[in-house]
């Protein structure tokens, strides 16, 4: 072992309170230290060259650098070592600036401590094994889970970069919540007009394969080498033959099934496509409500289908596929209002949620775009909106602000006033939050141009009496409780992650916060990556956001995914856990402590997968027989460091 020790002055930052010459001299007492020198700026070009020359001249096999924190220049000095032909992991840094010269004014104490730190680093480098970054292959294919605007945008961007993408959607058609919307803010352009072209692009793109009416059942593997098992539920319709002519759902006798797409405001048949512009435009037989499946009679749809595409015997198809990256885009659903009896949502038909209003306003909706009261079909003259129903509520609802409601309520108000100028609109709010680009101007237009009345207050109770909704309300600016009435009440309900998110997170072993939103790797610096390598987050599955943000995040997630797919090999962090299988008894206790599920039992001995392991060391310090160890921070190295510091 031939060790070289280099003590940096860092200008005066170290030299001022530490006697560098003394340390350079003292360390030479160790027989293995064959060279010691000091230098004003080791991190500068000159300093690094000095190290490289010394490594060659004295054939050094280990280098100790006493300078600033390794968090500053560990990589710089590792590159220097590599340039000098030394393994980059056979250099150690003693932090004698941030943790010594800068925090201890007394020169003797600081120098004494610096020498101890240098000796500890020497003890570590003596035991430093050469480490080589591992490599793992990358399957050049992406899996996007969730076919809403987020999933579609991510899939399109990845496909544009030339990589194959599988887009898996649980409902019969892609489009997600956005397909249900009428207009979108802040530009009031119609949702279908801007969404359907993207849906068609996604379907037509040769690099994208759509798997609708399908679900991911199992995911294994790690970044670059995921294996997913996907179940394509039986549509009972042959997708190649079907032309989407619609003869079948015209004739289907089972017509009284509440349409999920229309939030139950309209009915659908047993064989159906969720909406007219569905992509793929191939219906699905809902086997729970289809008479043929329930008691064997009927089969009308098969009779009228010219291309004979109906196939009642179709089975679920389960297939597995390799992927390099996975993007979660599971979107959201409206928070259930069961706990909010005071709004009489379940008692009165005329109290609806904003999503239901979207369907009522939508030209392709149950009322053909005419705004009617669901109870009697009359046009409502006075409409009241109530904000923050279920949001910002730590007792019965969600603690967070759902972010999009202030804007879509202003949008509803403007859209209604455009069609029905004489309609009277009141909006009860706590705070109006419209911070986006052009958002506040949009909200002010609702107030100033369209005369929408915003009341800073709340509604305490709603009761429908002979067709009129009576409301107990309070106006905080007037500081008065007052009663008012309305023909229709729209509740801006909170949004929450879709039910599929939790099981998916468990399959992907990605962390989730207590509200079932996917946790990002870092809230500010890595917002679109999950903590698990190779898994990316797109859209509301990561947190409430509007369409502009969703699309931005979708493209960002795609870009991060492309970053992985573009590589042929993935470099793995060499400071990972490694097992001495002679000592390992296969007790499996390390498996549960690993946050990345990197450890598995192979023929009764543990094995850590270098591509998954991030090097935290939890397993190494749990193992009773020290069979599990951590490269770069081995038991011996840390114990040697402890000895050097305590002697």
């Amino acid at each position: 072992m031939r060790i070289g020790v280099f003590v940096c002055h860092c200008g005066s930052n170290i030299k001022a309170t530490i006697d560098a010459e003394y340390i350079a001299a003292q360390v030479q007492q160790d027989a293995k230290v064959v060279h010691a020198a000091e230098y004003p700026y080791l991190c500068a070009e000159g300093g690094q060259q000095k190290i490289i020359n010394a490594v060659r001249e004295y054939q050094l096999t280990g280098v100790v650098i006493c300078a600033c924190s390794p968090r500053m220049h560990e990589n710089t000095f590792r590159k220097t070592a590599a340039k000098a032909g030394l393994n980059p992991y056979q250099i150690e840094i003693a932090n004698i600036r941030e943790q010594c010269s800068w925090v201890h004014k007394n020169k003797d104490a600081a120098t004494g401590k610096a020498l101890k730190l240098a000796k500890a680093a020497i003890a570590r480098v003596k035991l430093a094994l050469p480490l080589f970054a591992g490599e793992s292959a990358v399957t050049k294919r992406a899996l996007v889970i969730g076919g809403g605007i987020a999933g579609i945008q991510t899939a399109l961007d990845i496909a544009e970069a030339g990589f194959a993408v599988d887009l898996v959607e649980s409902t019969p058609s892609i489009g997600g919540k956005m397909a249900q919307l009428d207009k979108t803010f802040p530009t009031l352009d119609c949702a279908a007009c801007i969404l359907t072209p993207k849906m068609v692009d996604a379907a037509a793109h040769e690099k994208i394969t759509l798997h609708t009416y399908s679900e991911v059942e199992e995911v294994e593997g790690f970044v670059g080498n995921f294996t997913a098992t996907i179940r394509k539920k039986a549509r009972s319709v042959d997708m190649k033959k079907c032309t989407g002519c619609g003869a079948c759902w015209e004739k289907c006798p089972s017509k009284r099934i509440p349409s999920e797409f229309d939030c139950g405001l309209a009915n659908r048949t047993a064989i159906y496509t969720p909406f007219a512009q569905a992509v793929p435009n191939v219906p699905v037989i809902d086997r729970a409500t289809c008479i043929k499946f329930k008691n064997g009679r009927c089969g009308l749809c098969a009779d009228v289908c010219q291309p004979a595409a109906i196939d009642f015997t179709q089975e679920d198809a389960v297939f597995t596929q390799e992927y390099g990256v996975i993007i979660a885009a599971t979107g959201y659903q409206v928070f259930s209002l069961d706990a909010y009896g005071e709004y009489a949502y379940h008692d009165s038909k005329n109290v609806i949620t904003s999503l239901e209003l979207e369907r009522l306003m939508n030209a392709a909706g149950p009322t053909g775009g005419k705004l009617q009261r669901p109870s009697d079909g009359k046009a409502p003259k006075k409409i009241t909106f109530i904000q923050c129903v279920g949001s910002r509520d730590i007792t019965r609802g969600k603690p967070y602000c759902s972010k999009i409601c202030c804007m879509y309520t202003a949008k509803h108000a403007i859209a209604i006033k455009e069609k029905y100028p004489e309609a009277e609109i009141e909006i009860f709010y706590i705070d109006v939050r419209t911070p986006g680009k052009g958002f506040d101007e949009f909200y002010r237009r609702a107030v100033e141009v369209y005369g929408v009345r915003y009341i800073k207050g709340q509604v305490g109770k709603i009761a429908e009496m002979n067709g009129i909704l009576h409301m107990q309300a309070v106006d905080l600016l007037e500081n008065k409780r007052f009663d008012t009435t309305a023909d229709m009440v729209v509740l801006a309900a909170a949004i929450e992650p879709s039910p599929g998110a939790k099981p998916l997170a468990q399959m992907l072993a990605t962390p989730m916060d207590t509200l079932r939103f996917f946790s990002e790797a870092h809230p500010k610096l890595r917002p679109v990556e999950s903590a698990t390598a190779g898994i990316f987050l797109s859209g509301v599955c990561h947190g409430p956001k509007d369409i502009p943000e969703t699309v931005a995040q979708a493209s960002a997630a795609a870009c991060k995914a492309i970053g992985v797919l573009a590589k042929d090999k993935l470099i793995t962090n060499p400071c990972v856990a490694k097992v001495n299988d002679k000592k390992c008894t296969g007790c499996g206790r390390c498996i549960d402590v690993c946050p990345y599920k990197a450890i598995s039992l192979e023929s009764n001995a543990a094995e850590a997968n270098p591509a998954l392991c991030q090097g935290c060391g939890g397993c190494a310090s749990l193992c009773p027989s020290n069979a599990m160890d951590l490269n770069g921070f081995t038991h011996k190295q840390v114990l040697a460091e402890v000895d050097a510091l305590c002697r």
Binding site: W102, G112, C616, G617, G618, L639, L645, R647
Partner: protein, 144 residues
């Protein structure tokens, strides 16, 4: 002879907090010597006991605040393991104040310096750790 303190600091939070104490030119006693570990869960029970056997008078383990761990659950395991160690050491008659576990984030330079100050004062009050060395010696049994 002043007391020797070994501090295990996790690379992502407390070690960065220590660096911040440096860049802010704060001050804490020089007896504290820091060992960098990737995560507080890397601190093996052996390292702490080894430090005492080799003459340390106090050992402090620092990690990220619960929930902030770079490896998501590392500090929870550390807390579980070290709580058991500390309660066993106390049960065996060693001074509980010689060991400490503290959560310090990368932005808490001042807290780092203050924690080290307080810990050194606390351990200095106990003086050198004679008990660790004499536990097994006959002579030790008499004079304790």
């Amino acid at each position: 002879m002043s007391v020797k303190i070994v501090a295990f600091c996790c690379n992502w939070c407390s070690y960065a907090g220590a660096d911040l104490a440096g860049t802010s030119r704060l001050n804490y006693p020089a007896q504290v010597k820091i060992i960098r570990v990737p995560c507080s869960c890397r601190v093996d029970v052996q390292f702490i006991l080894r430090a005492f056997v080799r003459g340390a008078d106090g050992v402090i383990v620092c990690g990220c605040h619960l929930g902030d761990c770079h490896y998501s659950t590392g500090n929870y395991h550390a807390e579980g393991r070290l709580t058991q160690l500390f309660s066993l050491l106390d049960f065996m008659g060693f001074e509980r104040e010689r060991v400490h576990l503290e959560w310090i984030s990368a932005a808490e330079g001042a807290k780092f310096a203050a924690t080290m100050d307080a810990f050194v004062t606390q351990v200095s009050a106990l003086g050198k750790n004679e008990r660790y060395r004499n536990m097994y010696t006959k002579a030790g049994a008499q004079n304790e």
